[in-house]
């Protein structure tokens, strides 16, 4: 290995870092360390002049390694790697020390924060000495796309991709396309017809020459990797059809929560306690009637059913508040003299046009009643004969502070939206993960919301988390754009920080094969060693720590690199 010549750059980040970390002291402290050729500090390292500083120094001082102490590598590692590359050194010969998010922003003692910064920079310097150049690798992209789920998200993505002239395989579990929107009458906040919106979309998908639709079909197993996936599906129990595609979109949506488990609401006991979905059926049928065939004189709408409650689901389903207001308008239009009670825990009107929509409902003669989700749920009881209504809701009304009884003939439960039953089968097949709420996990919650950590696999619509139609559609188009971009390029870069087996050390025990979550390792019978398929490998490093022979190298996270980093953080104490 050529002698490391390291350039170290400490960023002020304006005052973000320099206020709490003595950047000058850090620079001086590391200046004289072995292999450090130059050490500097600068106001904004990520700015163009900051990057130019690195680029010029690399050329001028013949640097072959770079360390930047600044924000989190999750933010600017790529920026600085690219700068290194511009200056002609391999981008992996770079290391970042996180002295902002994990230092200046979280500590209050300047001396301590400065000492910590020194430790972190020393660790980065020690580590980078053992960095090795890694070469970018590319694989070709099959231009077909598999879309799982034919709701508004899946349909939108399918059309976007097919209209660009590329093949789409659209797999839908149920016997029809359209997803939930197909079950709705009107949509908030404009009260426009859901049917008039979804029908033409379904029709265009059905007739599109570039889209093959497979109804009543599910995906059990997908093999391959980004650019080159494969699956076998059997349609109507017939012979399996083999499909090949380069990218995958999961758009399996969510399903309504079953409120039977909430004893307070007596759903199923009382036939006129119905879910939002059952109410949509009535709206689509054109008449709001109780089981007795009568128009209800009192209608209550209960929010947050199974949502925002530790006993059921802690998260907010996001769309039910607005859907509830949509029902207010629809009930008022159909039953001008009915009493309407909005029984809510919080009113969430976060979206474009939502607050205005909320304001409109307040002119519709509605009684808004608030309950405390955490203290006591409203209780739906059978009414007495003398009560002149079917049921009575008992509740502690929060704003008035009083226990009240609400007469009702029909109750609409705004049920939570939760993961599909077979969601585990889907995530396993396509190699993505679920969060604690069983929503698909995106690659980055802010900067990469439709990609996943598995290359070529995208998630859109509500399976990624509850959302309304505009947000679902936006994600669908975003994923389509990403995929069309990859298809246009023809090839895509793949992970380079993968594992590889040193065949001289491998004893053939195959421990690694069992631990790899991506089935990336196989056994070579001829040479009696394990081999990593570097295209499938995601670089998690699990195999490396499991291998009893120390035969696996985790590139960019080698034992030597990590051990040097440990020595580095401890070296100053």
């Amino acid at each position: 290995m050529e002698e490391p010549r390291i350039g170290v750059y400490v960023c002020w980040c304006g005052t973000n870092i320099s206020k709490m970390v003595d950047v000058e002291a850090v620079t001086n402290e590391v200046k004289a360390l072995p292999n450090v050729t130059i050490a500097k500090n600068y106001k904004y390292m990520c700015s163009d002049p900051g990057q130019d500083l690195i680029i010029k120094d690399i050329k001028l001082h013949n640097l072959n390694r770079v360390v930047v102490a600044a924000c989190s590598p999750r933010i600017h590692e790529l920026t600085f790697r690219t700068a290194c590359e511009k200056a002609g050194i391999n981008p992996y010969l770079f290391e970042m020390a996180n002295v902002r998010e994990q230092d200046s922003w979280v500590h209050t003692d300047r001396t301590e924060a400065t000492n910590k910064a020194i430790d972190l920079v020393v660790a980065a310097i020690r580590r980078v000495r053992y960095h090795e150049p890694l070469q970018k690798r590319f694989v070709n992209v099959n231009p077909a796309t598999l879309i799982i789920g034919g709701g508004i998200s899946g349909l939108t993505a399918a059309l976007e991709i097919a209209n660009a002239g590329k093949q789409v395989y659209l797999v839908e579990k149920s016997d029809q396309l359209g997803g939930q929107v197909k079950k709705f009458d009107l949509t908030f906040p404009h009260l426009s017809s859901a049917q008039q919106m979804i029908r033409p979309i379904v029709q265009r998908v059905d007739n599109h020459p570039n889209i093959s639709v497979f109804l009543e079909t599910e995906i059990r197993e997908v093999t391959g990797y980004i650019g080159n996936f494969k699956t076998a599906i059997s349609v109507n129990g017939g012979d399996p059809v083999e499909l090949e595609f380069g990218n995958i979109i999961a758009a399996v949506g969510l399903k309504p929560f079953n409120p039977e488990v909430i004893s307070e609401y007596n759903y199923k006991e009382f036939p006129d306690v119905i879910t939002s979905f059952e109410f949509e059926e009535k709206l689509l049928a054109g008449r709001i009637l109780t089981v007795y065939g009568k128009e209800p004189r009192n209608v209550a709408i209960i929010h947050c059913v199974g949502s925002r409650n530790k006993k059921y689901h802690e998260y907010c389903s996001r769309v039910c508040c607005m859907a509830a207001l949509k029902y207010v308008h629809q009930v008022r239009a159909a039953l001008p003299s009915a009493n309407i009670f909005e029984i809510y825990a919080d009113m969430r009107a976060y979206g474009k046009g939502h607050e205005e929509f909320y304001a409109l409902t307040t002119h519709r003669q509605i009684m808004f009643l608030m309950y405390d989700q955490q203290k006591k749920l409203p209780v739906i009881n059978q009414a007495d004969r003398s009560d002149n209504c079917n049921m009575i809701i008992e509740m502690d009304e929060l704003l008035s502070g009083q226990s009240i009884e609400v007469p009702v003939d029909m109750v609409i439960l705004m049920v939570n939206m939760e993961a599909q039953e077979n969601v585990k089968q889907v995530v396993r097949a396509i190699g993505v993960s679920l969060c604690g709420n069983q929503f698909f996990i995106e690659k980055h919650p802010k900067l990469d919301p439709v990609a996943t950590t598995t290359g070529g696999v995208y998630i859109i619509g509500t399976c990624q988390g509850p959302k309304d139609i505009p947000d679902s559609v936006a994600q669908a188009r975003a994923a389509a754009a990403r995929i069309l971009g990859a298809i246009a390029q023809g090839s895509v870069p793949i992970e380079v920080t993968t594992a590889s087996v040193n065949e001289l050390l491998c004893c053939g025990c195959q421990t690694c094969i069992g631990v790899c979550p991506y089935k990336a390792i196989s056994y070579d019978e001829n040479n009696k060693v394990s081999i990593v398929n570097e295209i499938l490998c995601k670089g998690c490093g699990t195999c490396g720590s499991a291998c009893p022979a120390g035969a696996i190298i985790s590139k960019h996270f080698t034992d030597l690199q990590i051990l040097s980093e440990i020595e580095g953080v401890m070296s100053m104490s």
Partner: protein, 144 residues
């Protein structure tokens, strides 16, 4: 000089490291005793790393991964958990008290929990005093 415990922490990139970054973005203050090392997945943790940290003089070692079921690599954290139990047995036999080595789950959104964890561990280590591993290992010339 008063005792300032030093904690070496191994945080997985997707959850715990992101959670620690979030503590920063939310400006949640915590004890400055921790030195964080980023790994891609808690499944990458090797006993050598932990022993190395103790040998270098760490008073405590913290390993943080995603919550079970939340792992970006599907199941890396389960593997870490299984191996960790074994390791804890081993370190205890080496005379490293149980509380000096902790495995905790921190999600990408748990910045506050991360800060609390660091404070809590610092407090425990303060009451325990410095680790004696470094000096005892030096005597035995054990090199890990």
């Amino acid at each position: 000089m008063d005792f300032r415990p030093k904690i070496v922490a191994f945080l997985c990139n997707w959850c715990a490291y992101t959670g620690a970054d979030l503590a920063g973005t939310s400006r949640i203050h915590y004890a400055p005793n921790i030195r964080i090392i980023r790994i891609m997945c808690s499944g990458r943790i090797e006993p050598t790393f932990i022993l190395k940290a103790f040998q270098q003089g760490a008073d405590g070692v913290l390993v943080c991964g995603c919550h079970p079921g939340d792992c970006h690599y599907q199941e890396g954290n389960y593997k870490c958990l299984r191996r960790f139990k074994l390791l804890q047995k081993f370190t205890r036999q080496m005379g490293i008290e149980k509380d000096r080595l902790r495995l905790e789950w921190i999600s990408a959104s748990e910045g506050k929990q991360f800060a609390e964890l660091v404070n809590d561990m610092t407090k425990t280590l303060l009451s325990m005093g410095p680790s004696k591993v470094k000096s005892s290992l030096e005597v035995e010339h054990l090199n890990v």
